[in-house]
């Protein structure tokens, strides 16, 4: 196995070229099988993939319901960005001020235990059925992994780094932005990744329950109108959106954590 690894290492170019495609093998086989099988015996619940694809193109690409994508994505992005900001800020406060942490930790543990979706009625009463409710619920659902990971990441900071920071009497903002947050960034990014999936789930679920627009709302209406083909096209859209969000996130993560990855790989050599 190590010989094989070495061989692959040596031909880095070949590896770079082929690697992205290895992951495509299973999806390609799956889609092909789906296409063939569903074409042979289409049923009401499982329309042929060709029909679904046709519908997907007309609904989502050529305009039928393109307008539904924007409300979903905008509340997703705004909510996720706010959750990130709030999570990191609170995380810094809790990690650097143990007294605040001791004071608020029990309250937060309690609030965190409430399932986000159970708060839909409360949010609707407070904020209505518009984008504010969606954003609020995304923040509520997605803030926890970021908050907890930020606290953990800062708390586990190396003691030598801490001594260095204090003995050179760094200003608070240098300490925060150049030492504390970068050193916690691997854990913060891990939390943000979990939160991204949560945000997608919360947005779609909220749209299904209360919203008057968005992809979630479209899915619910399609199901209620027995438009199974439309529903399947919406599911495919969500799959694609989720996948693209992940790809974008990983590109950003790769950049931000370049040092971490390089250090880890260096140590293993």
């Amino acid at each position: 196995m190590s010989a094989e690894t070495l061989g692959v290492r040596r031909s880095i170019n070949a590896r770079r070229l082929l690697l992205p495609f290895v992951g495509l093998i299973i999806p390609v086989i799956g889609v092909t099988a789906w296409w063939i099988l569903s074409a042979q015996k289409p049923s009401f619940y499982f329309p042929s993939l060709a029909t679904i694809w046709d519908r997907f193109v007309h609904t989502w690409l050529l305009g039928g319901a393109t307008a539904e994508i924007w409300p979903t994505l905008s509340s997703l992005f705004l909510g996720y960005a706010a959750a990130t900001l709030v999570g990191i800020t609170l995380g810094v406060v809790f990690a650097l001020l143990p007294s605040v942490n001791r004071f608020f930790a029990p309250l937060l543990e309690f609030v965190r235990a409430v399932p986000g979706l159970a708060l839909i009625p409360l949010f609707v009463i407070a904020l209505g059925v518009g984008i504010e409710t969606k954003i609020g619920l995304v923040i509520f659902g997605a803030v926890w992994p970021i908050l907890l990971n930020t606290v953990d990441g800062i708390r586990s900071q190396d003691l030598t780094i801490r001594d260095t920071v204090f003995s050179y009497r760094l200003r608070f903002r240098d300490r925060l932005f150049r030492v504390v947050l970068p050193s916690a960034s691997p854990q913060i990014m891990a939390g943000m990744k979990v939160s991204l999936s949560i945000s997608v789930i919360v947005v779609i679920a909220t749209e299904m329950v209360v919203s008057i627009n968005g992809i979630g709302n479209f899915l619910l209406k399609a199901q209620a109108g027995f438009d199974l083909t439309g529903m399947w096209s919406g599911l495919i859209l969500m799959g694609i959106i989720g996948y693209l969000l992940n790809v974008i996130f990983e590109l950003v993560e790769r950049r931000v954590l370049r040092w971490h990855r390089a250090m880890y790989e260096g140590n293993r050599r």
Binding site: T160, I161, S167, R169, R171, D174, V179, W259, N267
Partner: protein, 290 residues
Amino acid sequence: MSDTLTSGGANAGAGSSAGISPSTPTLTAEPRMSVRSVSKSYTSDRGVVKRVLASVSFNVAPEEFVAIVGPSGAGKTTLLRTIAGLMLPTSGEIFFDGDEVTGPPERLALVFQDYSRSLMPWMTIEKNVTLPLRRKKLSKDEQKRLAAEALSAVGLGDIGSHYPWQLSGGMQQRVAIARAIAYQPDALLMDEPFASVDAQTRSDLEDLILALKKQYGMTIVVVTHDIDEAVYMSDRVIVLSGSPTSVRQVVDVKLGGQRDQLVTKSLPEFVELRNTVLTAVRRPVGEPSP
């Protein structure tokens, strides 16, 4: 009994090159650092008190080079962190340039035993070296110039754009030293700075520090467990006793200002000093203990 009284002077003993220095205060300038009856205890989470330092006293004169030796676990790191103002002594006082130390003094830099972990892996070498300069009122160009100067002073050329993890251990330690020098401190504390580099790098770094001391006129306190190194580099060796730690003996090293790895280490005075320190280190605990 005599151990606990070695609180005074720098190079006061003129006669013998080795021995317990008398407790007379230095006649010359005010000491750069003054450690006065410092004791330090750690209290564990369960409330168990562990006494690490017991009444440690010594002075360090301006531009003096002092080496501190003692068995591992004696509390050398504890002593250095206390002098650096990273923690307060349980009792006693520390003065730096006449001011009591209650936090990290501005004109002091510390080089850590764990050099590889004291550099920030997310920053380039240049950013690492200029980080402590950001609070000084210097332009960006000035900061960069100081960093480049310090890096070339420690024998590292054009590596400002590299990252710490791309360098060898010896080079990382040089970067940590360069960061301290660029900060332009009056005094430099070093905690077993060469403990984990190979022998060749080690003697290179010893000479580098001696050269830098001359060039910048710094006061230097080095903790080491290598007795040859202590004698070779310093003007004075402070030998610590086992726990709880106090100063067991202070050995004046009168080998002159010019040191050379081969010449100095083969001088009969060097061998004699080295044996004096070794005897002091090896003296069993409890013999003349406080």
